[in-house]
Symmetry: C2
Subunit: 146 residues, 2 copies
DNA sequence: TTAACCCCTGACCCATACGTCAAAGGCAAG
DNA sequence: CTTGCCTTTGACGTATGGGTCAGGGGTTAA
């Protein structure tokens, strides 16, 4: 299977596959005599896993950090959830991501509330004028750099 | 006042002031004979406003779009909140930002919930193994490109 | 006068996950 | 053989808000 077919099978593009390879998420595949990448179904499966984890908010750096454990997909012996196995080394990547998400959600909520407090009761009464935001903002305290 | 002092007074750096000027948030100040920027207290006040609005999540592009209304700060006649004045033209920038924040919050909450669903009840029992996430992820449905 | 610090412009750097382009060569069909 | 799509690598672009550097010149106090 050449890169275009593998990418289509995984629901993405050749560019993405080369990107994953460059970033250590996908092992360098065999090459044809003329240098073209050759993929099998296991590579496609791995790409699908990568894409799902990315869609859940894990980053390329996160996945690179545990790329060796992604390899487990290519074996038939996956340990059951929670069982100490060859991948028992805890990484906490998911927990950390959840905590980061909660922090980000709280931060955005604070921002929203501050902004809403400036533009009024937030009943969406009438479109806000930037001028009036600025007016209320004039004497506001600012976070200083540090 | 030279740029370093103005920046310090506004709680930021010379680079930021030049950046605001380049992006149309700050009017080009007078220059000394030798080309150095000269600022006054009104410039400092304007920078503080810019920084507060940015800290509330408005973007440089947002502020550039209404840079003419930021000019009102430099006059003493600010219309009261809600009153139609020289800046009566409604922009809705703040409302749009609040709506965008709400969407973003909802999106992050969905991501967090999906991730939590994969790593278990989320009681933060023990650090999650990436291997087990991958195991549960193996057959997951993926968003395809389109 | 000279040290020490400040300012000028232009340009590249950060992280994210690729898209897009360019030049050159591979592969299968007519 | 030619046509046309596919692949290769490398490099630049995207949006954000500046940080940092380089090379040159201003400013001020000792």
């Amino acid at each position: 299977m050449r890169i275009g077919d593998a990418a289509a099978a995984a629901g993405t593009t050749p560019r993405a596959l080369r990107f994953y390879e460059q970033n250590g998420l996908l092992p360098p595949p065999r090459r044809s005599v003329t240098g073209q990448r050759q993929y099998g179904p296991r590579d496609v499966a791995r790409v699908r896993v990568i894409r799902e984890l990315l869609s859940l908010g894990l980053t390329v750096a996160d996945l690179r950090d545990c790329a060796d454990r992604l390899d487990l997909l290519e074996e038939d012996t996956l340990p059951p959830y929670g069982a100490p196995g060859p991948c028992a080394k805890p990484t906490g990547v998911a927990q950390r991501r959840i905590a980061a998400l909660n922090e980000e959600i709280a931060r955005l909520a604070r921002l929203r509330d501050q902004l809403a407090a400036r533009v009024g009761p937030g009943e969406a009464s009438s479109p806000e004028t930037v001028g009036s935001i600025v007016a209320r903002t004039h004497a506001g305290d600012l976070p200083s750099r540090g």
